[in-house]
């Protein structure tokens, strides 16, 4: 059974990492529903948030494959109930449409969106929410002529209590131990 998964990938900030990550999905014919890249709470570590629809079994394989990438530090896979997430959408509508009736204004008000910019030619409306919410607003505005529409990739915060820092610390400790171990065995060679 296919489900929606949100994958959070923490990486070194290297050129080409996005490429390495996305080929893992393309090779398995998995469509990326949305993608967002940003800094993380830890300095120097980058975060990719990718949403895909696939099976439990496939997501396990993808996770292992992603973790195998040398520049990837940690990968978390979550279902929607395990995260707080948001997307942002922008809509461009002709100002004349607003002049003709106050319909648009009431749609914006009732859907908790807001006007981001108003010029004599056009207005830009902003809405944050889940995909369904931003799609609903698009449908409502559609009769008035939407000149441009864009939606960001999903950004997500996990509900889990153990944070990345704690994992990094564990990884560091394991690494230091094995470095000592490999130095000892190198002496033996």
């Amino acid at each position: 059974m296919k489900k929606e998964f949100t994958i959070s990938i923490f990486t070194e900030h290297h050129i080409g990492i996005l490429n390495q990550v996305t080929t893992i999905f393309t090779r398995r014919q998995i469509n990326i529903e949305s993608i967002a890249a940003s800094a993380s709470a830890v300095k120097g570590i980058h975060k990719l948030t990718i949403v895909v629809i696939t099976t439990e079994d496939m997501i396990d394989k993808v996770q292992r494959h992603l973790e195998k990438l040398i520049d990837v530090l940690k990968v978390f896979v979550h279902t929607n109930d395990e995260i707080i997430y948001q997307e942002i959408a922008l809509y461009k509508v002709r100002t004349t449409e607003i002049m003709i009736s106050n319909k648009i204004e009431s749609i914006v008000r009732s859907s908790n969106a807001r006007f981001l910019e108003i010029t004599p030619e056009y207005v830009v409306i902003e809405k944050t929410g889940h995909k369904q919410d931003t799609t609903d607003l698009l449908n409502e505005l559609d009769p008035y002529g939407v000149l441009q529409f864009v939606r960001s990739g999903r950004v997500a915060i996990t509900k889990q209590t153990k944070e990345l820092m704690a994992y990094l610390k564990e990884m560091d400790e394991a690494n230091n131990q094995s470095a000592v171990h490999s130095q000892q065995s190198a002496v033996g060679n």
Binding site: G16, N19, R64, H65, M171, S178
Partner: protein, 569 residues
């Protein structure tokens, strides 16, 4: 511990070479060109006994040679190529090393950094092209990054599940100067190859092993890579469990050992394939359940629990669901297991393998290896070489029927004495691999079995053999066909031999041009003397043997069939 050189100002090119020396490299396979000239220019000043550069005749040859060198020596191979076509010519070799998990550091040159992205002369995005077939790759645009990145490259290539790493260095980075200081990389925060074993997994594996009635070990390349041949032998001799080998696992366990059960897979032995579905426990070590090994997955290991010892977590449960995963190094895992398992023997179970061997001998091996009439068979040649070298040679193959015949009939004695292209199945691998193996192990006889098709894919490497006077023995098993493809046409495409017949040139005459003596053998009567003559020569030699044109390799698990449906004819 490695000495670190004190800070002198040197060029990036020289820093690269010094870094290689710090990593104990003494042999490089490569081919020069415009963008990499600063590196070759610095190489000119370094004595051969420090860094010996082998100029192949094609970059693909350099890549395969570096891989074979790595496989026979257990060190990390090194290969140089220039930008553009030099780099793209490496791609098959990189992919080959990737699929067979062999550590090779590829150094490619790149156009000067301010031209990158402009379609400059001989610019190609080799980082992008090689990304899916490297363990890691990186582009250096500043000389000061060279020592650190090279040390990372060696650490990554050689640790964990080994693999090829590609470092692309721009021409300006090669020419800038830096204060050289080398620190060996021992760990990275994003990559920890030293995975501690989970004692609970060892415990549960030992319980399964101690209670099994029909256990079978599947030995893969991972055991060779972790240098655990001795531990495997100790484990097997204590537990009495028979060992079957994958193609790339061959030579890790002696073929003549009473507990050796044979080769797995499509053209493997009858016993280990049939018994895979009768075993109640499979202990898979450093292998990845390739489809050429498993046949139809729905009907694979139908009665068995599976223990998988594997260093690459992404391989565990990738193809088959296993019962116990031991995530870690094969050597460590075997050491830990030896103390927990009971000494045992399985006389009845072993006798079943013996009966299978009798059947296979009667139906296949006898005719293949000891025919008294008809055309010469591949099997009899391999058996003869096996007897005469007593398993002490390094055996190389190309890809095709001759590869399967060699894997089936040579009796291996020493680890890392079988070098072949497994995962990628690259025709043209054999001849350059022989070059690399001979340079890596100059005191061991190197014998390459190559098909008449594959020989012509990298035939130019005869030039390398000539230039460096490499005493390799080349045996061409000439069936005037792309034999393996013809076999499939015969079996699955109504014998419609589309484009598989080869009209071949005079190979012996070609060899003569490279100062390689040779001989063509057509009759059984002269086969043995010719082999003796070849083996007695100090120098390189090419023996072309005309074999049965339409011989087929059996046994065979046909595509889509189960291992238990393996056909004997």
């Amino acid at each position: 511990m490695a000495k670190t050189r004190k800070k002198e100002k040197i060029t990036g090119a020289k820093a690269l070479l010094y870094s290689l020396i710090e990593e104990n490299v003494n042999t490089i396979f490569g081919y020069p060109g415009g963008a990499i000239m600063p590196i070759y220019n610095e190489l000119y000043d370094i004595e051969d006994n420090k860094l010996n550069h082998i100029l192949t005749r094609h970059e693909q040859g350099a890549a395969h040679a570096a891989q074979a060198y790595a496989m026979v020596t257990g060190k990390t191979g090194v290969c140089f190529a220039t930008s553009g076509p030099g780099a793209t010519n490496l791609v098959t070799g990189i992919a080959n090393a990737f699929l067979d998990s062999v550590p090779v550091v590829f150094i490619t040159a790149q156009v000067v950094s301010n031209l990158i992205g402009s379609d400059a002369f001989q610019e190609t995005d080799i980082q992008g092209i090689s990304m899916p077939v490297t363990k890691w790759n990186y582009q250096i645009t500043q000389a000061k990054d060279i020592p650190e990145i090279i040390s990372k490259a060696f650490f990554i290539a050689g640790s964990g599940r080994p693999g090829p790493v590609l470092i692309d260095i721009t021409k300006d980075a090669q020419m800038q100067t830096l204060a050289f200081d080398y620190q060996k990389c021992t760990h990275l925060r994003s990559y920890n190859p030293n995975i501690p074993l989970n004692p609970a997994d060892i415990e549960s594996a030992a319980i399964l092993i101690n209670h099994a009635r029909k256990p079978l070990i599947l030995a893969g390349h991972g055991i060779l890579l972790s240098k655990a041949g001795k531990e495997l032998k100790a484990f097997v001799e204590k537990t009495g469990i028979p060992v079957a080998s994958t193609l790339l696992g061959l030579s890790v366990f002696p073929s003549r050992h009473p507990l050796y059960a044979g080769l797995l897979g499509m053209h493997g032995n009858y016993g280990p394939n049939i018994k895979t579905n009768e075993a109640d426990l499979l202990i898979a070590i450093g292998m990845r359940f390739d489809d050429r090994v498993t046949g139809d997955l729905k009907r694979y290991a139908t009665n068995a629990n599976i223990i998988h010892i594997e260093i690459d977590k992404s391989e565990i449960n990738k193809i088959v669901e296993v019962d116990i995963e031991i995530h870690g190094d094969a050597k460590e895992a075997l050491k830990a297991l030896i103390n927990k398992v009971n000494a045992n023997s399985y006389p009845e179970w072993l006798s079943e393998f013996k009966s299978c061997n009798k059947i296979e001998t009667a139906k296949v091996i006898k005719q293949e290896c000891y025919p008294s009439r008809g055309e010469i068979r591949m099997g009899e040649i391999v058996s003869l070489i096996s007897e005469k070298t007593q398993g002490e040679a390094i055996i190389i193959t190309d890809v095709g029927q001759h590869q399967m015949a060699t894997a089936r009939y040579y009796k291996f004695k020493n680890p890392n004495s079988f070098i072949t292209s497994g995962g990628l199945g690259t025709m043209g691998f054999g001849l350059p691999a022989a070059v690399g193996a001979k340079i890596g192990k100059p005191n061991v006889p190197v014998i390459a079995f190559i098909g008449d098709g594959g020989f012509q894919m990298t035939i130019q490497e005869l030039g390398t053999i000539f230039q460096y006077k490499l005493p390799v023995k080349i045996i061409i098993l000439n069936n005037n066909f792309l034999g393996m493809v013809r076999q499939w046409q015969d079996m699955f495409f109504d014998k419609r031999y589309a484009s598989t017949e080869l009209i071949n040139p005079d190979f012996v005459k070609i060899a003569e041009g490279f100062d390689i003596s040779g001989r063509r053998v057509k009759e059984r009567e002269t086969l043995e003397i010719s082999i003796d003559e070849m083996l007695s020569r100090e120098k390189s030699y090419l023996l072309e043997i005309m074999v049965e044109k339409e011989g087929n390799i059996f046994p065979m698990i046909e595509p889509g069939s189960s291992v238990s449906e393996i056909k004997l004819c």
